[in-house]
Point group: C2
Chain length 243, copies 2
């Protein structure tokens, strides 16, 4: 169903129908350049009206909201293939911030071209809407996680999801993958305190289930991890559907 498209600069966008030559040409024009940012940089700022859309080519980041109290809710971790900025593209302004955790390479699109995409390339517009629906699906799942799972379950689930996503985009080699985040980042994503997150990770480590240290994640016992996370290990890994 999902056709990967090498030619498309928006190459991580899943496409359901092969692209025509004229579409590829349009995409080339749609793409306005590439951008490299340093780790720590803020790509998009809550409340700003960003004129750009990005596809992540390399590196990792995180998408978060800042609460009036100063707390941070991480919405999700950004990996290669993710498309960011649709919200700002389509609403007046950004509702969350995006920050680079590692150095990143991005493919930049001009937001003004978004409308012509809809007008002239309905197939691609459809793909984009599909992407938004998928995003909505994942947020719904995240909501259920925060609403109903305990600390250990949340932590496990995060590791499974991240591992699956990482595998899907080729970030994992054998049993390990790069996961260059801080424990605080994970805590902010899971709605747990740093201390508690640390203790849950320790438990997974002690039980020989998963080890995450020095930016490397190793899954020792995938089945047990899935069991804790309440995920069917055989389930078709429905991660971000991006190739």
């Amino acid at each position: 169903m999902v056709v990967s498209c090498q030619d498309c600069p928006l190459r991580k966008l899943p496409v359901f129908t092969p692209m025509t030559k004229s579409e590829v040409a349009f995409m080339q024009k749609f793409k306005s350049g590439e951008l490299e940012v340093e780790s720590g940089a803020t790509l998009m700022m809550e409340g700003s009206n960003s004129p750009q859309l990005f596809t992540v080519l390399e590196g990792m980041g995180l998408r978060y909201k800042t609460l009036p109290t100063g707390d941070r809710q991480v919405i999700n971790l950004v990996m290669p293939g993710d498309f960011i900025g649709l919200q700002a593209g389509v609403m007046q302004e950004m509702q969350h911030s995006v920050e680079a955790t590692t150095n990143m390479k991005l493919c930049v699109f001009d937001r003004k071209a978004l409308w012509s995409l809809f007008r002239d390339h309905p197939e691609r517009a459809y793909d984009l809407t599909w992407l938004a629906a998928v995003e909505e699906h994942f947020l719904g799942e995240a909501l259920a996680v925060l609403g109903h799972l305990n600390g250990l379950q949340r932590t496990s689930r995060a590791l499974v999801r991240l591992y699956n996503r990482g595998s899907a985009v080729g970030l994992s080699d054998g049993a390990g993958m790069d996961l260059p985040y801080k424990q605080q980042d994970l805590a902010d994503a899971l709605g747990l305190s740093l201390v508690h997150t640390n203790k849950m990770l320790k438990k997974l480590r002690a039980d020989g289930i998963a080890v995450w240290r020095n930016g490397k994640l190793e899954i020792k016992d995938f089945n047990r991890l899935c069991e804790i996370a309440q995920i069917d290990a055989n389930e078709v890994a429905m991660t971000r559907p991006l190739i």
Copy 2:
């Protein structure tokens, strides 16, 4: 910015540009009928492949996921004007269920016509994507609520948001509005136990801030409620942007 459109059977869809006559004609064709359902009915079922999209004309419902443990996470409450089923329309299958809380009247669209909407009416396709982005925004906010607010704050926030939304679609008269849900529904939305939700509602009642009983919600002290909910009372009520 948002132009309401009386002629459009998809009339609750916010449109940014006035509709042409041919568009209105298309919408009439797009609409495949109206549907009335009894309270308690399930409109869409998790995992099913629903051939229909709906706009809510009257009545209220709720959108939820069922967890493997049998727990329920309410994703949001469905009010008149809401558009449901885009996920099923665009992905293969529904990721959550939708249930009617009261009797409901729905405007039904044929999902197969969705593609021709994209092909022939890019403005409307754009509107739809905008709607998906808005939905994503709200889920992001909900995530932050579950991740960082305590029981009283969550409860307060829910009441403020519901009151604002209700007002926006004309469900509130003066100080009161119909809110025909069970405490269990709210609990499942907030990720709290029924008992605790009940105690938080009791506190709001005792403090003369808000009273919700017998399906009627009355806000006694909007400012204090907003304060607890960590919402700026003067903030432009960014509820669902539907007229």
